[in-house]
Symmetry: C2
Subunit: 131 residues, 2 copies
């Protein structure tokens, strides 16, 4: 797939991947981090919806393909080393397959036995991902 | 170094590393992403200032050790897969060694020849990192 000159300057790792941090364009809440290869980035730009590369399934996927919880891209930034992406999106539904708006719903609590749940569950995964 | 039960549940990759997204605790602006190993995470919690693991130098480093631009940790979150960290900090000075508050100071501009600089330079690297 065609990539413009800017994108050709990005540094993909030895597996051809770059981490993409996904952020709510309105509130700046960080929603998730996932990996992109060149094809998924090109597809993201072409369609305006985030596409990632799944390392476990070894394939490109549209975020929201099962749940309908797609992410409409507002802007794409990169860092000083050009080896990480930061993508502002409008999140439809929720980002996390566990039912939370953000995947970062657990906070470290000093001295506690387990992580503290700080996110709000906004859907029931059993309903959304039913077979 | 000692790690509590919560941290033992984190998934470090095959090199013993986990990506850490660093965010301004007040504005939620994403400042940078860097890698931590178990020691740098333990040291971060122990001291309250972010420590990372440099893959190129193969050593643990205190963010701000040269510049004085340290990050005081406010909270540590993890995602649904427990393989990424999101750390809220109070940033002293600026996060980026290029002189910008955030490392994500370049934005993709459709059809343009180069990335658009959207960050504001707040210090002169030549002054801060002089030999």
């Amino acid at each position: 797939m065609h990539m413009d000159k800017q994108l050709e300057g990005l540094k993909f790792d030895s597996n051809g991947l770059i981490p993409a941090i996904i952020q709510d364009a309105g509130t700046h809440q960080v929603l998730m981090m996932a990996w992109m290869n060149r094809d998924s980035l090109a597809k993201t730009i072409e369609t305006g919806q985030t596409h990632f590369f799944s390392r476990s399934r070894n394939k490109l996927w549209l975020k929201g393909e099962s749940s309908g919880h797609v992410q409409n891209v507002k802007s794409i930034a990169t860092d000083c080393d050009k080896d990480v992406l930061l993508i502002d999106v409008e999140q439809i539904g929720a980002a996390c397959h566990d039912g939370y708006y953000s995947c970062f719903y657990r906070q470290h609590a000093s001295g506690a036995a387990d992580w503290k749940i700080v996110g709000k569950k906004i859907f029931d995964p059993a309903q959304v991902y039913k077979k």
